[in-house]
């Protein structure tokens, strides 16, 4: 793939899959809009709500009226259909040449360096991945148990998969649109493992990955779960990736 010569106009499409994010969604959108307007980047925010019973879609409609339907695109779905398909659905309507995926629950501290493609331009990367484990990246609101599980799981992942990226389960990423489309075709897992598979497949396909330290501020509203079930399904997914990639 030939690298673009000279600066090209960038348009960022932010994909926000939501489920019961009535409280967080307006705040995330406000932060994104402010960040982009301050830096002069062309953007659009695509909200993919999976039929949230708490009225998230209604809030999204108000946001569309406030910011305009060229900036806030609503592409809802009737019920919870999964993250992977939400990205595919969102991408169909994305007109940007870069896609940002992030969580809509304010856990991903909107970082300008990330959003203005600073890192991406530095190395002309195909993917920029936010990492909680390097530089001044980190977390807030996690107890020792949660941190231990996180570091332990990451260590296991590094040993088994040698992925070349420090944070595989993070989901704050910037992709070139073509790259994300290609990866979505190839990835089959669900949940945490889906995010991991994207990076592993990206490396296999020879895409370049840059990393930016990010702050993960655990849920301001709503609860964050990491129980036995999640751990078991993570391990199953990790072993599957180990055996198939």
């Amino acid at each position: 793939m030939a690298a673009p010569s000279g600066p090209r106009p960038e348009r960022l499409s932010v994909l926000l899959p939501t489920y019961n994010e009535r409280d967080n969604l307006p705040l995330v959108v406000w932060l994104l809009v402010r960040t982009f307007r301050d830096s002069g980047i062309d953007f659009e925010i695509i909200i993919i709500d999976d039929g949230s019973p708490d009225g998230t879609q209604e809030i999204a409609e108000q946001l569309e009226k406030i910011y305009g339907s060229d900036k806030i695109l609503l592409r809802p779905r009737p019920r919870k259909l999964g993250l992977g398909t939400a990205y595919i659905h969102g991408m169909k309507h994305a007109t940007g040449n870069f896609i940002v995926i992030m969580d809509a629950d304010l856990s991903h501290h909107v970082s300008l360096y990330f959003m203005d493609c600073g890192k991406q331009k530095e190395g002309n990367f195909d993917i920029v991945s936010g990492t909680r484990y390097k530089g001044n990246g980190g977390v807030y609101g996690w107890d020792l148990r949660r941190k231990l599980i996180s570091r332990g799981a990451n260590f296991l992942t590094q040993v088994l998969l040698r992925p070349g990226a420090s944070d595989l389960t993070g989901s704050f990423r910037l992709y070139r649109k073509e790259v994300l489309q290609k990866l979505m075709e190839k990835c089959v897992s669900k949940g945490y493992v889906f995010q991991m598979e994207m990076i592993v497949r990206a490396r296999q396909l020879g895409y370049t990955i840059g990393e930016v330290p990010i702050s993960f501020v655990d849920r301001v509203y709503g609860e964050s779960k990491l129980g036995g079930n999640e751990i078991v399904s993570f391990l199953k997914g990790l072993l599957t990736l180990f055996a198939t990639t």
Partner: protein, 92 residues
């Protein structure tokens, strides 16, 4: 080759090298001191790896950054956001 495949190949290679040297018939055995070190080697390596893992995870756990500033900044942003959104007509 899959990662599992790589591991199996690596283990097979090292395993057979070890077996050849450590379990050789009496005429072809390497000198005694070498044999003494060789026989328990797999266990030593496993234990060493276990210690390395514990030390690494422990270190990383201890140096896991707590983003106090980011959290505080976020709270400020939330206040500003709610005020501004209310002004613009959002009914929360």
């Amino acid at each position: 080759m899959t990662k599992l495949g790589q591991w199996l190949c690596g283990l097979a290679l090292l395993g057979s090298a070890w077996a050849v040297l450590a379990l050789a018939p009496p005429e072809l055995q390497p000198p005694a001191p070498l044999r003494q070190a060789l026989l328990p080697l797999p266990v030593y390596l496993l234990v060493a790896f276990g210690c390395y893992s514990l030390a690494t995870v422990g270190y990383r756990l201890a140096t896991f950054n707590d983003c106090e500033e980011a959290a505080a900044e976020l709270q400020e942003h939330i206040r500003a956001a709610r005020a501004d959104l209310r002004r613009r007509g959002l009914r929360l």
